[in-house]
Amino acid sequence: MNPVVIRTITRVLVPFIQLFGLYIIVHGPVSPGGGFQGGVVVGSSIILVALAYGLDDAEAMVNHRIRIIMDCVGSLVYAGIGLLGIAAGGLFLQYGIIPLPFPPARINNLMIFLIGSAIGVHIMALVLSLFLHTAKEAEVDD
């Protein structure tokens, strides 16, 4: 079958899927959604690339190294925000106490947003990793 149709559609769709995913991540605090859901959507856009263009092209877009860095940095940001609470004299994951020039509810809001983004970064890399590794594992079969 001629892949031109699929590839063209993919090329058109991918930016929109990613935009939608980012929208879900960013709007997590006010509407249904959040880091997990948005991260999966963004990750799946690259999976679409992998399906249409082949694994190597997807790997070239987001390679193994970058994926691991995104994974670890996302998780570390979460744990780090938690530890910030301790450093500021409060408890682990206590956001309101972090010394920023806003009222506590505002700081909470900001931190929840940051955490959502961290989760989003983590999950988008992870979903991609899970897919690409599994797919590559199945491909090397001779």
Binding site: S31, P32, G34, F36, L130, H133, T134, E137, A138, D141
Partner: protein, 115 residues
């Protein structure tokens, strides 16, 4: 018509899913089918939890003007965690299966048992 159904129907549905999944996990011979069974099985819990949080006529749990009657938000948070756990398990199980197939050239659990 809907009144004829038992009141706790969603819970019964989740129990039915649990049994179907458990049956597939135990008695299907193909490893992929076992994992499908595992997925059905863990989905049954998610259905159960989400059904638990429903309140008759409740609004979605997002703060809105003039609404005071929401569904229970806590089970939603639990279900999200459950989904993520099931995702992690499934992906790991699938890659194990791929490697098992490469090693033994079969996915039949009866044949694998004799190795």
């Amino acid at each position: 018509m809907i009144d004829l159904l038992p009141p706790n129907l969603p819970y019964f549905a989740s129990i039915a899913l649990l049994l179907i999944g458990l049956y597939a996990m135990i008695s299907k011979r193909n490893l992929i089918k076992k994992i499908m069974g595992l997925n059905i099985f863990s989905t049954s819990v998610l259905l159960f939890l989400i059904a638990m949080g429903y309140r008759e006529g409740g609004a979605p749990p997002i703060e809105a003007e003039g609404v005071t009657h929401y569904v229970n938000p806590l089970p939603h948070a639990l279900v999200l965690t459950g989904i993520v756990v099931a995702l992690a398990l499934t992906s790991f199980a699938l890659i194990l299966i791929i490697n098992i197939y490469k090693e033994h050239k079969t996915l039949d659990s009866e044949k694998l048992k004799n190795l």
